[in-house]
Every structure is written in structure tokens, then in C-alpha cells.
Amino acid sequence: MISFGLIFFVSLFFTGIVSKTKSLLSGRKGPGLMQPLKDIIRLFRKRSIFSETTSIIFQIAPSISFASVLMAVMVLPLGHSQGLLSFEGDFVFFAYVLAAGKFFSILAALDTGSSFEGMGASRESLFSMLAEPAFFILMGSFGLMTGYTSFHKIFLALHFGSYISYALGVIAMFVLVMICMVENSRMPIDDPKTHLELTMVHEVMILDNSGFDLGLISYTTMLKFSMYGSLIANLFLGDSPLYGTIPAFLGIQFLFAVLAGALESFSARFRMSHNAQFILVLSSLSLLVLFGVLVMLGRFN
């Protein structure tokens, strides 16, 4: 319950912090922290326009995709206190329910019959499918390390003792950050601020959404961002008491947002055709974590 509320709370400012960081780093004053939220509220009030080609799929997709992210947020714990739902294998549910939402957003893009949106859908489906194995192998390694199979128990039992485990923590964090970037279509996989449709991934999929739907999609992105942020934060929270966890959680989320902003300011987008290979490499990094865990536990027999 606490984690749900906190993730919800963080999501309101997350994109604001990212864009503020980007503005400051490029020497501008930039919009306020609340600007993305204000934009969304403005979109909620606006009239919708639908393409004449679209069907019911286009109408239901944003709602389903939002609901899928909400379901996924529910299974995330916060340190000692577990999420709204916690059960064995909840991370499988986490990944698959997100995939269900993505399934619909890809279909919605294809529903418009626009070649641009088809292009974005094609890229999104390929990239996110390649990112999934990396996540599962990572969770498998954590499962091996701790002997549990749910987010809450794994994160509680996860502790860093030896030098190897620090290295593993860094790699795991890198993999999670990159998965987050892939899933949210941010740099270095996709540039959300590009002006050319041909180089977009996520932005080009939602060209035809307007009004409430567009606002919902934008908010879904923000929520998704803070959801992955909390996943990363959980890596470090461990078994500390609540008055320690909440500030730590907020701090890590803040740092993550600043990191995302810095990453977008200083890095260039990858070549589109090399993205797939890059994402596949994440799986091998996850394998590295697995081998690290095997070394740590001395299980080479």
C-alpha cells in the first residue's frame, strides 16, 4: 500500500525533474516541476479527434495500457512493507501484464493505418520483446542468490556483503536502468524530443491520439518511469525500517530522474538498426550477474 502511494506520488514529479535537469544542464531555466502534470490536465479537458480508419481497439488501448501499469505497480514492494499484492512468481505477472498493455498499444498504432505509426509499432514490439529475457534472467539470478521467488522476499533477502556482490549490484542496476529506458522509449534507445518521425519509436505510435487518451498515455509513461525507478530503489533498500526506507526511496528516485536527465543531455541516440543488438547484449549482462552469483555461492559443481 505504501509503495503504491509513493510510486504514485513520485510519478507526478518524475518527468518534471528529468526535464528540469535537462534544461539546467543545457543552460536554460526550463519549465517548472509541475509542468508535465499541468500539460496532462490540460489534455484531459481537451476534445478528442479520432481517425476514421480506427476501430474500437484504438479507443480501448490507452485505458488497458494504463490499467496494466497500475496492476504492475501493485506487486512492487517497498523495503520491509510488501506491495498490495505479493505472491510467488509475482515478477512473472509483473512482466506479462505490462506486455499485455504493450500488446494493445502496438495494435492501436496499427489501427490507424498510418505507415508512420506502423513503423513505430514495429520497432517498439521488437525492442521490448528483446528486453524481456534480460529481466527474467536477472530475476532468476536473484532467485538463485536468495532462494525466493517473489519481489518482496527477494529484495528483503538481498544484501551486499562481498566485493563480488557490489559488482553484481552495479551490473544489475545498469541492466534495470537500461530495461527502463527501453520500456519507456528514452535515450539512448529512442529520443523523445526528436522532430523527425522516421527516427521515433514511441512518439510516432501515438501520433493520432488526442485529448484524454493522449493525456492518459503521457501519464502512463510517467507512472511507468517511477515504477522502474522504484524497482531500482528496491535493490538497495533491503530490510531497513520504514522511517529510513521512505527518504531513501525518494532520494534514489530523485537521483534516478537526474541520471535519466543527464543521460539524455550528454548521450546521443544509438543507430536505430543497432538497437536490437544492444538490447540483446543486456541479456548477456544478466548472464554475467548469474555467473557472479554462481561464483559467490560456489555452485560450480
Binding site: 500488446f103 496499427l110 498510418s114 513503423m119 534472467i137
Partner: protein, 674 residues
């Protein structure tokens, strides 16, 4: 015993009635027959799932010896799966074949074969005598062959049919060899003899297991024995493809499971083998499925993928037996069995929808479609439901079985040895990759066929079918949703079949229960919650949007004002990135005519995905054999004189055979002396 007699009587009676009634009645009679046979067999199967096995012994003949008929929980599960899909596919077939009603005699043959196939498949599940088993197997295989070549006036159909016939007989050959191996050692054709043989000869029985696995693997479609599948499915009429993909290939799975029960050997080795092959099967199947443009062929490759997923479950189960981990074994076999049911449901539903899509345009090339969602909303809805289920997405049944497999894999990681950990991680990797690739494949298929606007003008405007026609599809769809939301009763039914396997290790026939099954029912509620939440969000959205009337406009073309339907993203362009990535592993044939000159003519570009295993394992050796045999083609020169000469030579050889034998023994004795 009365049940068996009734079963045979119904079969004979309906087979004799079908030819003499009118074309419209044939299908209805066949459905009645199938329903009665299904009821009779289910009457034996349902008690078996609650622990009351049926054991009968038919007297048999001098050749076969006694024929035991056993309905144990494993057979019972398969019988129920088979019956459901057979009933829906026969109902569907009734309506589907209406346009073919003038071909009366062909229809009679078709429906009689349908009954025979059903009877054959059911018998395969209960017979525990090798000779009788092979006979039933043969009835099933030949019946299906006749079903496949329904549209036999097309050369490609006959070719696919013959391909199926040959490959299924290669499987029969392997099974026969395996059965003879046992019979020659033990002198009995009973299945118990196989178990006895395995305990006496642990070494050779590993080879025996391999023989059986290969034989049944042909039917199931494990890579590299899958090459008949992508040819037979598109050639067959749709309800037959649905039936074949839904249940016929599952008979291979049944056979493998039965042999695992009987041949108690080194389960660790068997588990590693099955798991590795299944991972290859699953990934290879879906990788090829993505690049197919023929919808039925695409679905056929997805059957191969799902056989891979089922195989992963079986492999897990065997590893569990080998490592003495009861939960892994339970979850593996239960997941495999549940996925068998699930796949039979969503795959048949996909085929049924594909059938009406085919009848609306008389092509299966998905690039020819577009915007069918508006014309056939109900078919589209059912297709979407099945597509999500096959991708393993919540809230449908595919997710439940995949979740069981994932839980088993993740839970087992800490308690196995190093090679075990690697195998499990490999299985997890491939299962998630398969899931992701399936999403790519079905967004492509659904998006191209149903969404957007029509890419080509159609001769006749496709229309939605009436409710009676859609009834079998809705029934299947309902079951998909029910399993997805309330998996609990189905898991309870699976306790005994899965318990049969775990009892091999514990000796205790009782079901092994742990908290996992409760978790899975919780997942069902979560899926329901997901639907509910989506609905709430959608209603809120509707309320908010309803305040101001929404506008309607053309799709935003990024400034271009005259986009046409032909400019939409096609299926090929949707998967182009993937194709580029997979090119080193797969094989493509490309034909391209470039645009040249100042006044360019027509340009075109064809890509055609080829199956590498088929290329190198079937076509290439076959070419060599044909070349070798071609060397002797001078013998067949078409001159009568020569043929008479061959006859004379043959007669001469036969007449002088005793003399030749004496000459032969003389020569041999010469060598023996020296």
C-alpha cells in the same frame, strides 16, 4: 465392456448411415456420432480423473494376445481434451463445408474419415497393447490423410498430403521397431512388458526411449521432425487444421508422456535431452512463424512453438524426477498437460477464425487483407482473444500454463546442480523470448488482417456469420476465459495425472500439493482484477470524453495529404527489422525487379522464408537419393521387349534358385576350408 461395444456399434452405424443421406445431413449425422462417442469415452474418463480408473481386457486375437484397455488419469485428461476439440471442430466443419455441398461422395468420405479419426485417436489413448496400438495409430493417421486431401483437385494439396503420409509412416516405422525390440526380448506385446524391459535393461532402454521419442516426436512436431506440419495445415480444410493442430499432434505428446511413465530410466538424461530439444523447437517455431505470410502456415509454425513449450514442461518434469524435486516434477507435468488443453483451445479458435477469413477472400496471404475488424467484428474479437491467449498474456489461459512453468523453473533454480541451473536458465530465457516473439507475430497478424483499411479491393464484401456458425467458436473462447480467470478446478483435475508421474519418485500415488496451486488461483483473480480495472478506466474515460462530442478526421499523415490504403505498413515491413536480425539463422529467397530507366515499368520484390531444417534434412538428402536412383533409370526405357526380357530373367532366376544356392554354398565352403 458394454461401453466398448456401444462405441464400436455407434461408429459402424453412423459410418454406414452417412453415405445414404443428403449432403446437408451428413455433417449433422457425423456431429451426432462424434458427440455420442465423446459421451461414451468421457463416461470412462471423468471418473478416472477422480481416482476411479477403468481397466478392461479385450480377448484380442492370436496375433495380438489380450488387449488391455486402461483409462488412467493421464489417458482421461487427453480423452477429454480430444473430445472437446473434436466436437467444436465437427460443429464448425458442418457450417464450413456448406459451399462444398455438391461434392456429395467426397463429403461422405470426409465425414466417415472424421468419425474414424476420432475413434482412432480415442483408442490410441486407451489401448495398452503394442500391436493393437499400432493398428489404432494407423487408422488415425490414414483417416487424417483422407481429411487433409479434401481439396484433392489441387496439386499442392495432394503433395502436402503425401508428405504427411510418408512422414507419419516414418514415425510408425520407428515405433514398430521400438515395440519389436521389446517384444523380441520379453515375448509380450503388452505395455507392461515395456516397463519390465526397462527395469531389466537400463542401458538399452535409454535407446528405446530415444526411439519412442523420435517416433512420437514426428507426430508432435518437434524440430527437426516438424517439416510435414507447415505443409499439411494450410492444405487441409480449416476445421481439419484446427483439429490436427489442436489434438492430433498432442497424441505425440501423449505417447511421450506414456513412455516416460513406462520406461523408468535415467530421468536426468531424458530431461536434459527433452528440455534442450524443446527449447530449440519453441524458439525455432516462433522464429519462422513471424516471417510467414500465409496465415495458416503461420499458425502451423506456432503449433511447433507451443509443442516446444509443452516439451519444456515435460523436460522440467523429468528433471524434477531426476533431481528428486517433487514440486518441479508436479509443476512441469501439470504445466505441460494444462498447456496441452490450452493450446488445443486457442489454436483451434485461431484456425476457425482463419477459416472464415479465408472464405471471405479465398486467399490466406495476410498482405491482401486489412480493416476486417469493421466487417467481421465478432470473428475479430475471437481472434484477438485467442491471439492474446497464445502469446501467454493475462487474463487468458495461456498465461496460466506459462505461469505454472515459470514458477517451477524459478523455484527449482536454487535446489539443482550447476548443469541443472544452466538448463533452467536456458528454459527461462527461451520461454520469455518465445513470449516476446509471439507478441511480435500476433500483433503483425491481427494488425494486418483486422486493423487499418483494406489494402486491396475484395471481390465480395466479407460479412459476419450468424450466431449458429459462431457457436463453436464462442464455446472455445468461453473456455479460454474461464481457465484464465478460474484455473482452480482445472488444476484439481490435473492433480492425479501429474501425480502419476511424481509417484514414480515417491512411490505415493497421492497428489503432491504445495502452496503453488493456491498462488495460481490467486493469479486468476488478479487477471479478473486486471479486466475490471481496465473496464473502470475505460468507463471513466467514456464519461470524460462524452462531455464534448469527439471529432472524426483522417489519419494524420505527417503533412502528406493523399495517403492511400496501399501505403499502410504491411506485414513484411512490420517484421523487416526482425527479419534483418534473424537473417543469419533463417533462410530467405528474394526476388527483386528494380525500378530502372526514365519511364520505369513495374517493380516488385518478393521474399519467401524457407525452412532450413527442411532444406538440409529432407530436400538435400532426397535430391542425392534421387540422383542415385536416376542412374538406374535406363532400365525403365518404355520398350515392351525389354520388359519381357526382365520377366524372363526373373523367372530364370527363380527356377534356378536351388542351383544358385548350391553354387553359393560351394564357394563359401571353399573359403571356409582354406
Amino acid at each position: 465392456m458394454e461401453y466398448v461395444i456401444c462405441f464400436v456399434l455407434v461408429l459402424v452405424l453412423f459410418s454406414m448411415l452417412i453415405p445414404i443421406v443428403k449432403a446437408g445431413m451428413k455433417g449433422i449425422l457425423a456431429v451426432t456420432g462424434i458427440v455420442i462417442m465423446a459421451l461414451i469415452s468421457s463416461a470412462g474418463a471423468i471418473p478416472a480423473l477422480w481416482g476411479h480408473e477403468t481397466r478392461l481386457v479385450l480377448p484380442g486375437s492370436m496375433v495380438t494376445g489380450e488387449i488391455p484397455l486402461v483409462i488412467d488419469p493421464l489417458s482421461a485428461w487427453f480423452i477429454l481434451v480430444i473430445n472437446f476439440t473434436f466436437i467444436t471442430s465437427a460443429l464448425y466443419g458442418c457450417r464450413y463445408l456448406i459451399p462444398y455441398h455438391q461434392r456429395t461422395s467426397q463429403l461422405s468420405l470426409h465425414w466417415i474419415s472424421y468419425l474414424l479419426t476420432h475413434a482412432g485417436i480415442l483408442s490410441v489413448c486407451v489401448i495398452q497393447n503394442s500391436v493393437a496400438f499400432l493398428i489404432a495409430w494407423e487408422i488415425m493417421a490414414l483417416g487424417t490423410f483422407i481429411l487433409v486431401i479434401f481439396e484433392g483437385n489441387k496439386a499442392s494439396t495432394i503433395k502436402a498430403g503425401i508428405n504427411y503420409l510418408i512422414q507419419s509412416h516414418v514415425a510408425v516405422l520407428l515405433l514398430t521397431v521400438a515395440f519389436i525390440l521389446v517384444a523380441s526380448s520379453t515375448g509380450s506385446f503388452s505395455f507392461d512388458a515395456i516397463a519390465a524391459y526397462a527395469t531389466q535393461h537400463p542401458g538399452p532402454s535409454l535407446f528405446l526411449m530415444l526411439l519412442f521419442f523420435t517416433g512420437f516426436g514426428f507426430k508432435a512436431g518437434f524440430v527437426p521432425f516438424h517439416t510435414w506440419l507447415p505443409h499439411a495445415h494450410p492444405a487441409a480444410p480449416t476445421h481439419v487444421s484446427g483439429m490436427m493442430s489442436g489434438v492430433l499432434i498432442k497424441i505425440g505428446i501423449y505417447g511421450i508422456l506414456r513412455m516416460i511413465l513406462l520406461i523408468q530410466v535415467n530421468y536426468l538424461a531424458v530431461g536434459y535431452f527433452i528440455l534442450t530439444l524443446s527449447v530449440i523447437t519453441g524458439v525455432y517455431g516462433v522464429m519462422l512463424a513471424i516471417v510467414q505470410h500465409n496465415l495458416k502456415k503461420l499458425l502451423a509454425y506456432h503449433s511447433i512453438e507451443n509443442i516446444g513449450i509443452i516439451g519444456i514442461g515435460i523436460g522440467m518434469g523429468c528433471l524434477g524426477l531426476g533431481y528428486h524435486l517433487p514440486f518441479l516434477s508436479t509443476l512441469g507435468f501439470a504445466g505441460a498437460l494444462l498447456h496441452t488443453l490450452n493450446h488445443s483451445l486457442f489454436k483451434s479458435l485461431l484456425f476457425y477464425s482463419a477459416g472464415y477469413i479465408y472464405q471471405s477472400a479465398h486467399t490466406m496471404n495476410i498482405e491482401r487483407f486489412g480493416g476486417l475488424m469493421r466487417r467481421m467484428p465478432e470473428t475479430a474479437f475471437l481472434f484477438l482473444l485467442a491471439a492474446m491467449a497464445i502469446c501467454g498474456l493475462p487474463p487468458f489461459n495461456g498465461f496460466v500454463s506459462e505461469f505454472i512453468l515459470y514458477t517451477g523453473l524459478f523455484k527449482a533454480i536454487p535446489s539443482t546442480s550447476f548443469p541443472g541451473i544452466l538448463m533452467l536458465i536456458m528454459a527461462i530465457f527461451s520461454l520469455s523470448l518465445i513470449g516476446g516473439l509471439a507478441i511480435l507475430c500476433f500483433t503483425k497478424a491481427f494488425g494486418t488482417i483486422f486493423l487499418g483499411s483494406p489494402r486491396y479491393p475484395m471481390k465480395e464484401i466479407p460479412a459476419e456469420r450468424d450466431w449458429l456458425t459462431l457457436l463453436p467458436m464462442y464455446a472455445t473462447g468461453l473456455l479460454i476465459v474461464v481457465i484464465g480467470l478460474f484455473p482452480q478446478p482445472f488444476l484439481h483435475m490435473l492433480l492425479l495425472p501429474a501425480g502419476q508421474f511424481t509417484s514414480l519418485m515417491t512411490g505415493d500415488t497421492g497428489p503432491i500439493m504445495d502452496g503453488t496451486f493456491d498462488v495460481i488461483s490467486q493469479v486468476g483473480y488478479l487477471s479478473a482484477g486486471f479486466i475490471l480495472l481496465s473496464l473502470v478506466v475505460f468507463l471513466v474515460r467514456k464519461k470524460v470524453i462524452g462531455r464534448v462530442p469527439a471529432g472524426i478526421g483522417p489519419t494524420w499523415g505527417c503533412g502528406y495529404v493523399a495517403p492511400s490504403a496501399r501505403m499502410q505498413y504491411t506485414a513484411s515491413s512490420f517484421v523487416r527489422n526482425y527479419r534483418k536480425l534473424a537473417e543469419p539463422l533463417l533462410s530467405f529467397r528474394k526476388q527483386k525487379t528494380d525500378v530502372t530507366g526514365i519511364f520505369p515499368g513495374e517493380a516488385d520484390h518478393h521474399t519467401h522464408a524457407r525452412d532450413k531444417t527442411e532444406l538440409y534434412l529432407i530436400q538435400w538428402p532426397w535430391q542425392k537419393v534421387r540422383y542415385f536412383l536416376g542412374l538406374f533409370s535406363f532400365l525403365q526405357n518404355g520398350r515392351l521387349q525389354f520388359y519381357i526380357l526382365y520377366g524372363m530373367i526373373f523367372i530364370l532366376l527363380v527356377l534356378t534358385a536351388p542351383f544358385i544356392k548350391q553354387v553359393f554354398t560351394f564357394i563359401v565352403s571353399l573359403f571356409m576350408v582354406s
